[in-house]
Structure formats: C-alpha cells, structure tokens
C-alpha cells in the first residue's frame, strides 16, 4: 500500500486529538459533582446546620450544563470559546476537588464542622452576607489604594532624587539604609497613637511598606541607565529636566515596575495586619471578626475574596507594565 506523506503526517495529529473535547468532559464532571451534592444526604453533626445544599447542586449542575454545551458546540464559539477550551482541564480539576471537599466535609464529616466549612457553607456566606463582604472589600481597596498610590508616588520621586542628585543621595541614603529594612508593621504601635485615626495610620504604614522597594528599585534603575543615552540626548541640546524626564525615567521604567510589584506585595501584608489590629473595616477586619464568632465559613469566604482581590490587582499592574514597556522584549508574563 502506498501511504502518502500527507496521511503519514496527518495520522499522529488525528490520534492526538481527543474524541471528546475536554470541555465536555469537565461539563460531565460538574454534573457528576452536582449529582453527588444532591444525591448523598448531608451528615449534620448538630453544631452547625448544613444549608444551601440544593443551591450548590443547582449551581454545579448549571455550570456543568453550560460547559457541556460549550464543549459540544466546539469551534462555533469563536475566540471566547478557544479561551474556554484552554481552561477545560482546569474546570475538570476544580469539579473533582470541589466534589472531594464536599464529600469530606458535608457528606462523610471526615473533616469536622465547623472548623472545616463545606462548599455550601461558603455559598451561604456569599448569598446571605454579600453586603457586608462587599463593603469590607470596598474599604480594603480604598485603604490600599490611598496607601499604595501615595507610597508609590513618593517612592518614585525619592528614587529619582537620590539617583540623580548627589546632595539628595547624601542625606536620604543613610536614612533609607537605617529605616528601610525595618518591617512597616513594626511601626504599628507607634503609628496608631501618633496618627489621628487608625485609618490614616494605616495609610501611612502601607505607603511606607510600598515606598521602600519602589525607592530602591527606582534608584537602581536611574543609576543603571546607559550613559550613552545621556550623550545622545545632550547632543540634541537636552536640558537637565529633559534628561531626567525623557531619558532617565523611561530608561529606568523596567526597574521601577519591579519595585511597584514588590511594593504591592508588601502593601497587601500591611493592609491585612492593619485591618486586623486597628482599622474597624475591610477584609482583614472581616477575617478577625469572623474568627471571633467562630464563623469559619465566613473566614474562608473572606480569604477567597482577598485572594481574588490581590491577584486581580497584581494582574492589573502587569497589564499596565506590558502596555508601558511594550518596547522591551522578553517580559515575564503574569
């Protein structure tokens, strides 16, 4: 038999393509998880009642149906469909993990309530307490934004100053070396009585935590600018202002963004500690409040919201960087 080259090359590709799309498989898994949630009776241990089991089952079934439909429609969904297909294996994994979690907590009580909340416990929190959670999220974001933006702005300005002017470096550098490495949270007791409110104290602490890495990285960025760039600009007749704003700062931007990234991470840590210890609002406050009431489901729910918030903010920062630094090749993708 003469097999043409085309069929020879085509064969492995055809074999590599699964008969059923992973999206449809994950849809089936979600439907299975829904059946488990609905079909196996909850084991109420008596301390906390398990509620919202039907709602969870409905949610799982709805998602499973949607994924199955998307899987069967295949290529007809265009670009969003392609993105969905790439995430197919993840949908499958989450379905399995959620079912295992459901089994271990609500169905078999291997992990005891109330310390380990079942999935429907979190659903209950989101459905019943969304207003308070939302308000906490808003307070956290607001506090973080103030602290972070002030800290980042001051950090960039300070970094440029010490990177550019000898005099500034002479006076600021020693202070930075002495105070910078101190964790911002160490200032907490001092800040809470030195500032008029715990909120302004927290803004100060978040700004401090953000400002240090931003300053150092901006400074090193400015110091590391290729001297040829200055020569180029000077031969164009550039003033010092031009050299700083149009040469030094753009050239240092890759470093500045690393500083902004590190500062954002540090600001999260300070935000949560400040809200747990002093500020009477925000997700950190919600966490410790839930712990006080032994409302563990609320704690997990708040942790999840916090994770989504932090991850989203980092993503936002990376998007901004990708836009601003599009001239740089080989950026790390977030």
């Amino acid at each position: 038999m003469s097999a043409t080259a085309e069929t020879l090359y085509a064969r492995p590709r055809a074999a590599g393509r699964p008969a059923v799309s992973p999206l449809a498989v994950s849809g089936l898994l979600w439907l299975g998880a829904a059946a488990l949630t609905h079909g196996v009776p909850d084991r109420n241990t008596g301390i906390t009642d398990i509620a919202y089991t039907p709602q969870l089952a409905a949610l799982q079934a709805g998602l499973g149906g949607a994924l199955l439909a998307a899987g069967l429609l295949g290529g007809r969904l265009g670009r969003p469909g392609a993105a969905l297909r790439r995430a197919g294996p993840w949908f499958a994994l989450i379905a399995v993990l959620l079912a295992a979690w459901e089994l271990l907590t609500a169905k078999l009580a291997v992990l005891p309530l109330p310390f380990f909340a079942p999935p429907q416990g979190l659903l209950e929190v989101y459905l019943d307490d969304w207003a308070r959670l939302g308000l906490s999220l808003w307070h956290s974001v607001k506090l973080l934004a103030w602290g972070y933006l002030i800290g980042a702005a001051l950090g960039v300005l300070t970094g440029i100053s010490i990177g550019w002017w000898q005099q500034a470096s002479y006076w600021i550098h020693p202070v930075l070396r002495f105070i910078g490495p101190l964790p911002a949270t160490a200032w907490l007791p001092v800040a809470f009585f030195a500032f008029p409110s715990s909120w302004s104290a927290s803004v100060f602490l978040i700004a401090l935590a953000t400002g240090f890495p931003v300053t150092i990285l901006t400074w090193s960025g400015i110091a590391g600018v290729n001297k040829d760039y200055y020569d180029i600009a000077r031969t164009l007749g550039a003033s010092e202002r031009f050299l700083v704003l149009k040469v030094a700062v753009p050239a240092a931007l890759p470093h500045i963004f690393v500083g902004l990234f590190m500062g954002l991470g540090a600001s999260f840590a300070v935000l949560v500690v400040a809200e747990m210890l002093g500020v009477k609002a925000g997700l950190g406050w919600y966490l410790s409040w839930a712990q006080g009431w032994a409302a563990y489901a609320n704690m997990y729910a708040a942790l999840l919201v916090m994770a989504v918030m932090c991850s989203s903010l980092i993503t936002l920062l990376f998007r901004l960087r990708d836009r601003v630094l599009s001239w740089q090749k080989e950026l790390v993708r977030w």
Binding site: N226, D228, Y229, D231, I232, A233, R234, T235, L236, G237, A238, F242, K246, V247, P250, A251, L253, L325, W327, Q328, K329
Partner: protein, 264 residues
C-alpha cells in the same frame, strides 16, 4: 578668512587619583565649510576623545574648538553626532527618535505639521520611511545607523560628527551606507568630521585624511589631501592610481611609521 570649524591646540589629560594620562597633545586643525574630513588612527589613540571634545561632551584640558566664530564648550544641536552603536533610545519608535531631535531643534520655528513632514522627509532620505513605526530592537544594525544619520541630518547641524558610524556593520551594509552618506554629502553639502579605522573608507569618502600618531600624547601625524573628483564610485576607484596612492600613503603611515605596538 578663518576656518568654519577650528580645532586649536587641543590637549586632553585624564586624571585618576594620582595618575594622569595625556591623551591628546596640541591638536590643531582647520576645516572649511562643506569639507569631509576623516580622522584615522589605531584604537586607543584618542580620536574618539577628540570627537567628543568637538561635540562638547568632553571638555578639553587645553585649547579649544571654534565653530562658525563661536566657541564650543557644551553639547548642542549645531553639532549632530552619529554614534557607533547605542545610537537610538530603545523605548521610542524610529519615527519618535528622529522626531525627538526635530522637536528639540525646531519647536520654536516650525509648526507641528512641518516638523512631522520634516521627520518623514529625513527618514525617506536614508530609505527608512517604511520602518518608521518599528522599535530599535526590531531593526538591524545597519538600519539603526541609517536612523541615527536621519536624526543627525534632521537637526540641520553646522557640522556632522560621525564616530566610527559603520564600524559595527558587515561589509555589504557598510558599503551601502557609505554610498548613502556620499550622496547626502553631495546634495546637502554638509561639513563632516568622521572617525574611522578603515583605510578604504577614509580614502573613499574624504577630502582630507587626518592621521593620528599613537597615544599617549597623540598628535596629528600627517594630513593627506585626497584629490579624487566627485562623485566617486567605488568600483571605478579600484584601479585609480590616485586612489591607490592615497591608500598606500595611509597604510604606510599606520603600519610602518606608527605601528601599533601594544597588543590590541
């Protein structure tokens, strides 16, 4: 009549701690308007230092530079420099790199539309109009030098300073660019001061070749007039006796009388 560009008694001494090195000693040179001058010498002889002094990037220790009756003591747009490499700002597009210079020089005298048109005109002059939206990282070394030349030309400088502009390029690209520079020089009549270590390049392009002795304390060893008619064509020159003679003179200067003794 005094020369257009006058280098008089230039000396340069670098001091590092207690050690001082005299790089240049009593370098004097008069350059007429529209002249193409090459400075040739072994590496380390201070020819780049000399160019930087003319550019105003490095102050001379003794002596000075006078351009069009005014003393040079800081960098300025009347002396445009084309560097050997790193000539473009990597975060700006090709267009923006040239536009930056155009805005710097003509923001007071020309409208936005005029500056835009002038930027494009100069990019077209070096055949880089098609790549105006590319970033420096996306174009070849030869193309980067073209853009560098376009930027320098766009400033309408009194003198064009070329610091081994073709040194990092392959032979073919270099020949193309040399031809482009010759054409531009022929049509615009720029005054050009070029640093090179390539003998053929110096003879092909220059009206006069300034040969530097080896450093430290480098001086002008000899000045050679190249009496070849323009336009010059590299293929026709291969067998031209004047060309060969000039070439031989420079080679003899570099390799017999001022042999580079230290390991390069």
């Amino acid at each position: 009549m005094p020369a257009y560009l006058q280098l008089s008694q230039i000396g340069k001494t670098f001091t590092r701690g207690a050690a001082t090195t005299e790089v240049l000693k009593e370098v004097s040179l008069d350059i007429a308007k529209g002249e193409y001058i090459s400075i040739i010498g072994h590496s380390g002889c201070g020819k780049s230092t000399l160019l930087n002094i003319v550019a105003g990037l490095t102050p001379a220790t003794t002596g000075g530079v006078i351009l069009d009756d005014r003393e040079v003591n800081s960098p300025g747009p009347d002396r445009a420099v084309v560097f050997q490499n790193h000539s473009l700002l990597p975060w700006l597009s090709v267009y923006d790199n040239v536009r930056l210079a155009v805005d710097k020089v003509f923001s007071g005298t020309r409208s936005r539309a005029e500056r835009h048109a002038w930027t494009l005109h100069n990019l077209d002059l070096v055949q880089m109009g098609h790549a105006k939206d590319k970033r420096p990282a996306e174009i070849s070394g030869g193309m980067k030098q073209r853009v560098g030349i376009a930027r320098a030309l766009a400033m309408e400088p009194k003198v064009l300073l070329l610091d081994e502009p073709f040194g990092a390029l392959d032979a073919l690209t270099r020949a193309h660019l040399q031809d482009s520079v010759m054409q531009i020089h022929a049509s615009l009549g720029n005054t050009i001061l070029m640093i090179t270590h390539d003998v053929d390049e110096a003879v092909l392009l220059s009206d006069r070749i300034v040969m530097m002795t080896n450093g430290p304390s480098a001086r002008i060893g000899e000045v050679l007039e190249v009496n070849l008619p323009r336009p010059r064509r590299r293929l026709e020159l291969v067998a031209n006796p004047t060309y060969l003679k000039a070439r031989e003179a420079v080679l003899k200067f570099l390799h017999e009388r001022h042999r580079f003794v230290e390991a390069a």
